[in-house]
Amino acid sequence: MPDDTLYCATCKKERTRSELASTLLVCPDCGHHFRMEPYERIATVADPGSFVEFDHDAPLKDPIGMVGYRERLAEAVKSTGLPEAVITGSCAIEGNPAIVAAMSFSFIGGSMGSVAGQKITRAMLEGVERRVPVIAFAASGGVRMQEGIHSLMQMVKTSSAAWRLDREGIPLFIVLCDPSSGGVIASFAMLGDVIIAEPGAFVGFAGPRVIEKTINRGMPEGLQRAERQLDRGFVDIIAPRGEHRELLARLMRTHPVRSIRPTREKRRGEKR
């Protein structure tokens, strides 16, 4: 990642990425959380050296043969240095094994296409397989429009995987980062047992521009911010970035995974 300039809109000050490294890209004056890339993100919570990536080389896909999409993907890979909009893998957090997924808003708006959806799903199912908690950091504008129906299906797939975690008694911890919206908020990102949000993160389904167009007036300030979503009951905890590691470790201690599947028949009718 180049040492680019980050502009803090609240403080009206320019910062450099390296200057903010020690504060985890949080403005030391006002606490504004700048967007963070997946590998840096995982490093903020994982024990050093514990992260083992999954599916790094999953081939990119163009399922409906969309004109210009392959070029767009190649450009995103080049500019971000990432293989796709999500990085997944296993790690340990204060010694507790976990599966982790982190999205990148820089990669085509963090959009979830078939590869990103597959990686998230596979990560969740790996949690079932290993019987360890799954942690997902959402940062996305929604599903990848260039993959048409295949992108929408990722919403069903990831939600269906969340159902399996429910059935198997595997915790799903979601961390909503800026922005968490569209098809991601209408699927796995709202299905966590615990939903954490970063301060000030945009959390909502429809983007402000779409809403403005529909209601013909501006959005009231802060309506789709994490703090408001806490008030409305859609978020459990707002936690600054610096506290994520400790918080996730505490959640893992308080949500120990039972070694076998829960025997209690679920209300939703598991018969076996």
């Binding site: 069903v156 429910d166 990102a189 909502g204 429809a206 809403i211």
Partner: protein, 301 residues
Amino acid sequence: MTPDRTIEECLNELSNIAGADGINLSSEISALRRKFSETIDEEKAWSLVRRARASGRPRASAVIADAFEDFIEMHGDRTYADDGAIIGGVGLLGGKPVTVIASQKGSNLRDTVSRNGGMASPEGYRKALRLAQQAEKFGRPVITLVDTQGAFPGLGPEERGIGQAIAMNLREFSHLRTPIVCVVLGEGGSGGALGLSVCDRLLMLENSYFSVITPEAFASLVLRDPSKKKKAAAMMKVMPEALVKSGFCDGIIPESSYGEDLSTEEIIRGIRESLLKEIAALSRRDIDELLERRDARYFSF
């Protein structure tokens, strides 16, 4: 003679004339040919979108009235409100009870306003889930009828968790222990339509479409030119035939016969027959096998 044939003939003629004069126009002609075929694709896709949105389309209320017997409408999500954009209830299909959940755009101006043009709020999705879980309890198949531009992008729905409501439906419908058949009547718009579309079998009317986002929004967001909505419709492959090919759609219910449009009554009869056939086939299957297949259907994407 179809218009594209005429163009084809013109191009051949042009090629012959040029050839006779010793001029090579082959690259220009193939560029023209490509342009014409693109234009035809765009016009086809866009005219489909327009037909799917037309006010005279068979509405869910008409399908419910004519395809089912003894329908009783149920109201409300038991939490906050009743959302008129989604109709739900119980009726008989060929003498057997089924739960019907449908997006309803409205049959006249007043009705359209009260139903928010079929754009559902969280309460609509929560009502749908409540009724679907009841269907599971009573062992009734679920039939969903989809016709919406998308979920309602407004302040209230955002404050009451439209994303969460759709997410819950995706999670729960994906493992609901009863057969689910979905029929797309007109518009299948984005996540809002998806919230009623998780099923074992998905059928589409001939003049319906299903799209990740409206062609208008795709044009302005991806193509960066709002006037390119026709191109957007073609690029996103929203037509039933393309969706059959991708494995999303399992069958197309005809709206025409030998080039003639069928009447609304005839179309609804076709929907009813398809539903009877699908429900009968699904009901014969063991429920665990059905769920495995449903899982496989979505995990294949």
